[in-house]
Each structure stands twice: as structure tokens, then as C-alpha cells.
């Protein structure tokens, strides 16, 4: 929280010259007042002072001037200010008079709160939509079936009933998968990450077949054992690869690579697909969040894939991130802490050296201690 305080210059009224500007009130740029003109003393704490000299500080100051004028009536006043960013920031500025004269204002960065609020509202709307749509469709189709005598129509309708039931089942499966992730008791399983990635790539290739998208692995280590939940890892990496294939244009390549340094083991999935608009970038890991609703329907996903990926990463003390430009493709990076490295049966030096700077020589590689520290659990605000 930031704080700015002021003490008026002794007189109850602001200087006459300031009155007309102050009465405009809603002017988005605020009246052109200098701080010194309005207040005898104007103090800021460190956090508020950090805004000085920035464009955000100028905007905040303009609002502060108006609020300090408003609180002269003895009532507290406040407003919400949105800064476009990136990153988009929402500030709540509140001013209140203090008994011995003067006023105090607090500037609160409520961006996270606003983001969580909208996430919660959207989630409730989306989950009811995702579950009700197939159920509604099944009900209507069943009603039609009941009155139908033509066998061809009956066949078409019943196929649709089956499709819609599968869709509902997939959504429910994914929801259950999501809730089970945090209850996993297998986080200490020894898993060959390369094999998991290999399987995901193979599945991705199968999914890509009708789609002319090439899936290739780049620079993959021979063996990399980590302590993790195998099923979760397979589902997370599988989701990333499948997503990349789904949203790739024909004739493009999806590249999957494993990299490691002293701190992280990471799986990168790079595609040359449609990309993600900047405005949606920090929301794609939310449950049921769709960038392009029409396209999402065609691809047949449940809208939970990336939410599962994020949960798996968090559950292992890791993190998943995305970089993207519309039309140029996306890069998803799934990172796990290197302390999850398991006992490596044999070490192939030549492979290790082919990795980027920052990789320790094989001999110095941290072996997993006998008593592996439990993975750090990151609690997500939306859970």
C-alpha cells in the first residue's frame, strides 16, 4: 500500500484560481495544478514516492489533486484508476480527511484482486455453460428420438446423443483429474522424463496425422530421471503437445525439447501456429478459458487442458509459462525444479555437454538426496 499525506495551507478554501479547474471534476486528465499550489505540505511514503517521475505517477497525481479537493467537504472520496499497461494495472485511490486538518490518501494496487474476481465470475459462467450445453442437447435429441420413426433419422440422432454424452463425460473426467492432482501420493516416483516426452510426442504425431503438422524432438537428453508423478507428468506434457498440434497451421512444425541447468529441468513446446492475443496471454491457464470460442468448439477440447498443466507444474513445485505472438506461434515452457532430479543410472557425458551454458558437468550433478524434500506446493489464488 502506498500512502500520501497532505496538510492544507491553513486556509479552509483553496486559492481562488484553482476553483474553476477543480469544479470540472470528471476531466480525465485532471486540472493542471501543481502539488505545491494546493498544499503547504505534501508528504509521500517510499512506495508512493517511487511513482514520482513516471507516467503512472502523473496520472495518479492528477486523481489525487481531485480527491484532495473533494475531501475538503469532510467526506471521504475514492476512485478506481485503470492503467492500460502492459501489464494492465488497476489502482484504487482513496482519500479521507483527518481530524486535525489535512487529508490522507492511500493508493492500492488491486490488479490481482480484479483479475481473481473476473476469473471467478467467468469460471462460474463457463462451467455451467460447458456442462449444460451437452446435457441440454441430449435432452432435445432424446425428445426428438421419442417421436421419430424414420430409421435414418434415428441413427443420426442417436449418434449425436452419443457424441454429446462423450463430450460431457470428457469434461467431467478432466474436472475430476484436476481435483485429483492435488491428492497425488506418487510424487516420489522415479520417472524417465525423456520417455514421457517421447510418448507425448508419439501421441501428438498421431493426432497430427490428419493435419499435416510435423512434431519433432530437438536436443533431447538420453536419460533424465526425475522424481514426479508419472501419470500427471504424462498428462501435462501430452496436453501441451496436443494443444500445439491443434492450434498449428498445416505444413508447420511443433518442436519439443528438454533442457536443464542447475536450477531447472524444462520441457519446451514450440509451435508456429495461430498464437495467443496479448490480452488473453495471462488467462489461458484458467479453467474453461477460451481465446477463440468458435475455434475451441471445432477442436473438441474441454477447456481444461492448460489448467491441468498448470496444476501439475504447481503440484511439483514447478511453473508453466507461455510466450506468444499472434500469427507467429507460441512457446510453452514447463519447468520443474532440478532438485527433483532422480538417481541417474548411467551418465552420457557427450549428451550432457551438448547442452546450453549453465549446465553442470555430469560428475557435479546434484544427486537426489536420500530424503528428498517434498515438492513445494504453490497455492493458486483461484483454488
Amino acid at each position: 500500500m502506498m500512502q500520501a499525506t497532505n496538510q492544507p495551507a491553513g486556509q479552509a478554501q483553496p486559492p481562488a484560481a484553482l476553483e474553476p479547474a477543480a469544479s470540472k471534476g470528471a476531466h480525465p486528465m485532471g486540472p493542471p495544478l501543481s502539488t505545491q499550489a494546493l498544499f503547504a505540505r505534501f508528504q509521500r511514503n517510499g512506495a508512493a514516492d517511487a511513482l514520482t517521475g513516471t507516467h503512472a505517477g502523473v496520472i495518479v497525481d492528477a486523481h489525487l489533486q481531485q480527491l484532495f479537493t473533494e475531501v475538503r467537504s469532510g467526506e471521504r472520496a475514492g476512485r478506481i484508476v485503470e492503467l492500460q499497461g502492459p501489464p494492465k494495472t488497476t489502482l484504487s485511490i482513496d482519500a479521507m480527511p483527518i481530524p486535525r486538518g489535512g487529508a490522507v490518501a492511500t493508493i492500492d494496487d488491486i490488479s490481482e484482486r480484479v483479475r481473481i474476481d473476473s476469473m471467478r465470475t467467468d469460471f462460474v459462467a463457463n462451467i455451467s455453460h460447458e456442462l449444460k450445453t451437452p446435457v441440454g442437447a441430449i435432452a432435445v435429441l432424446a425428445e426428438m428420438l421419442a417421436d421419430e420413426t424414420d430409421q435414418t433419422v434415428i441413427n443420426t440422432l442417436s449418434t449425436r446423443v452419443v457424441e454429446e454424452s462423450h463430450r460431457a463425460a470428457r469434461t467431467i473426467d478432466d474436472l475430476l483429474k484436476l481435483s485429483r492432482i492435488e491428492l497425488s501420493h506418487h510424487l516420489d516416483d522415479e520417472v524417465d522424463l525423456r520417455a514421457v516426452v517421447g510418448e507425448a510426442v508419439a501421441r501428438g504425431r498421431m493426432a497430427a496425422d490428419g493435419h499435416e503438422v510435423d512434431v519433432e524432438t530437438v536436443d533431447t537428453v538420453d536419460r533424465l530421471w526425475i522424481r514426479a508423478d508419472r501419470a500427471q507428468l504424462a498428462s501435462a506434457i501430452g496436453n501441451l503437445v496436443e494443444n500445439a498440434v491443434k492450434y498449428s497451421d498445416e505444413g508447420t512444425v511443433v518442436q519439443v525439447s528438454i533442457r536443464r541447468n542447475e536450477r531447472w529441468v524444462e520441457v519446451m513446446v514450440v509451435d508456429q501456429g495461430v498464437g495467443i492475443p496479448a490480452a488473453d496471454l495471462d488467462r489461458v491457464f484458467e479453467r474453461f478459458y477460451r481465446v477463440d470460442k468458435a475455434r475451441a468448439r471445432q477442436t473438441g477440447g474441454t477447456g481444461l487442458g492448460l489448467a491441468i498443466v498448470r496444476h501439475v507444474a504447481n503440484n511439483h513445485g514447478g511453473v508453466v509459462s507461455v510466450q506468444s505472438q499472434e500469427g507467429a506461434g507460441s512457446t510453452f515452457t514447463f519447468r520443474l525444479p532440478a532438485r527433483l532430479l532422480g538417481p541417474t543410472p548411467e551418465v552420457d557425458d557427450s549428451v550432457d555437454r551438448s547442452y546450453s551454458a549453465g549446465v553442470q558437468p555430469a560428475s557435479d550433478r546434484p544427486r537426489a538426496p536420500a530424503e528428498t524434500t517434498p515438492p513445494q506446493k504453490v497455492s493458486m489464488p483461484d483454488e
Binding site: H27, P28, M29, G30, P32, L33, S34, Q36, A37, G53, T54, H55, A56, V58, I59, D61, A62, L83, Q84, G85, P86, V274, G275, P277, A278, A279, Q325, E326, G327, A328
Partner: protein
């Protein structure tokens, strides 16, 4: 008495500077907003920005008049005079940039209902981001009278120019592939020009900041060589490197 007069004069200078900084900060917010309006086809927000432009125009006139009256009544000299003369030019640059944001919103209305390729959208986003960065830097350079920061704007602008060329190329490709109409293609080419112009105005503001700080002017014969002092040959000033 005279001390009070001067303090009043300095207060007036501060007020003008605050007013200009507020306009600059306003446009810094307006650029990403216009970009989002263009990408989302948000007609309501477009209308809001278009109507809001009157306030920028009014503010520009008001600040300019203040500058004239201070120059006329206080007869400023040296850096005070430079800052007031520059203020008049900076106000015009900022006001024009607000107009360009309005033009982007009008273009959004003209192409409403036409889908844009992801590749077009990606470059629009990049141009919008870069134009915002330029305007933010120029506003903050002005606010802090930061010469080196202002001088960096030329190079930052060349990236925006590159993006504009790249965007024109993508427009040609999209049009050739038949994904956008000729009319939309033309509108988008104009939009690219708007961003490029916003960048140029930010650079102008930066140049003015340098002038306030140390008297550097782009129009000087030696300005091309960026701060290299001129050489004096036979008592005549010639640009660096030409003697």
C-alpha cells in the same frame, strides 16, 4: 515583492509542465487503448475515445495560451525561455498524437466486422506496444528532463519503422491470400502509418527535451552526428567530420 513575483512565475512554469505531463501520460494510456479497440472491434470504447478527444484539444489550447501569456508577461530567458518555447511545440505533438489515436479508433469502426489474420493482429499488437513505449519514454524524459533518455528515442523509433514495413508486407500477403478485402488492406496500411507517426511525435518531444536540457536542436547543421560538437575551420563552424 520581486521575489514573490518570481515564485509566482516558477509556479506558472510548474503548472504548465504538470499540464503537459498529464497530457503525455494520457496519450501513453490512449495508445494501448486504441490498439485494443482495433483488435477487439470495440465500437463503444471507440466512440468514447473519439468523443474524449475534444478534451485534449481544449487542454492543448489552454496550455498554449498559458505559455504565450507567461512569455509575454514574464519575459523569461535562458532555460526558462527554452522550456516555454519547447512547451508550445510539445503540446502540439501530444495533441496530434491524441488525434492519431482517434484515427486508429475510426479505422476500427471502418473495418468493423472484418476478421483479421492472427499474423496481422500480432504485428498490430507489437506496433501498439512499441508506440506506447516510445510515448511513455518521451513523457517521462520530459517530466524528468532526462537528456540521454530523450536521445534514445530516435533508435527506439527505428524499430517501430521496421515494424511498419513488416506490417505492410503482412498486409500484402494477407491480401494476396484473399483473407482480407482490398478496402481493409488499405485501412490497415493507414493504421500502420498512424502508429509510425505517433512514434515520430514521441521522437519530436524527445528532441525538444534535449533542447530544454542543453540547447541541442535537430535543425542545427551538426545535429546529424548526434551531439558531436562542430569543428571550427578558419573561424567558420562546420559539422563534425566534414572539415
Amino acid at each position: 515583492m520581486s521575489k514573490e513575483l518570481r515564485s509566482n512565475f516558477h509556479e506558472q512554469l510548474t503548472e504548465i509542465r504538470d499540464g503537459i505531463a498529464q497530457m503525455g501520460a494520457g496519450v501513453t494510456e490512449l495508445v494501448p487503448r486504441a490498439t485494443q479497440i482495433l483488435l477487439d472491434g470495440d465500437l463503444e470504447a471507440a466512440e468514447y475515445v473519439i468523443l474524449g478527444d475534444n478534451e485534449y484539444d481544449a487542454k492543448a489550447v489552454e496550455l498554449e495560451e498559458r505559455c504565450f501569456s507567461v512569455i509575454a508577461l514574464q519575459a523569461p530567458v535562458a532555460s526558462d525561455l527554452r522550456s516555454l518555447v519547447s512547451a508550445i511545440k510539445i503540446i502540439a505533438d501530444i495533441e496530434r498524437s491524441a488525434d492519431l489515436c482517434v484515427n486508429i479508433c475510426k479505422a476500427a469502426r471502418r473495418i468493423y466486422g472484418h476478421d483479421l489474420d492472427p499474423s496481422l493482429r500480432g504485428v498490430i499488437q507489437k506496433m501498439g506496444n512499441q508506440a506506447r513505449v516510445l510515448f511513455k519514454e518521451s513523457t517521462e524524459a520530459y517530466l524528468n528532463l532526462d537528456g540521454p533518455r530523450a536521445a534514445a528515442l530516435h533508435d527506439m523509433d527505428s524499430y517501430l519503422d521496421d515494424l511498419q514495413r513488416q506490417f505492410i508486407q503482412v498486409i500484402f500477403e494477407s491480401h494476396a491470400a484473399g483473407t482480407i478485402d482490398l478496402q481493409v488492406a488499405v485501412q490497415l496500411a493507414v493504421v500502420a502509418r498512424f502508429y509510425e507517426r505517433i512514434g515520430d511525435h514521441a521522437v519530436n518531444v524527445g528532441d525538444r527535451v534535449r533542447y530544454i536540457v542543453d540547447g541541442w536542436v535537430p535543425e542545427h547543421p551538426y545535429a546529424e552526428s548526434d551531439n558531436d560538437p562542430p569543428e571550427i575551420v578558419d573561424g567558420v563552424i562546420v559539422p563534425a567530420g566534414q572539415s
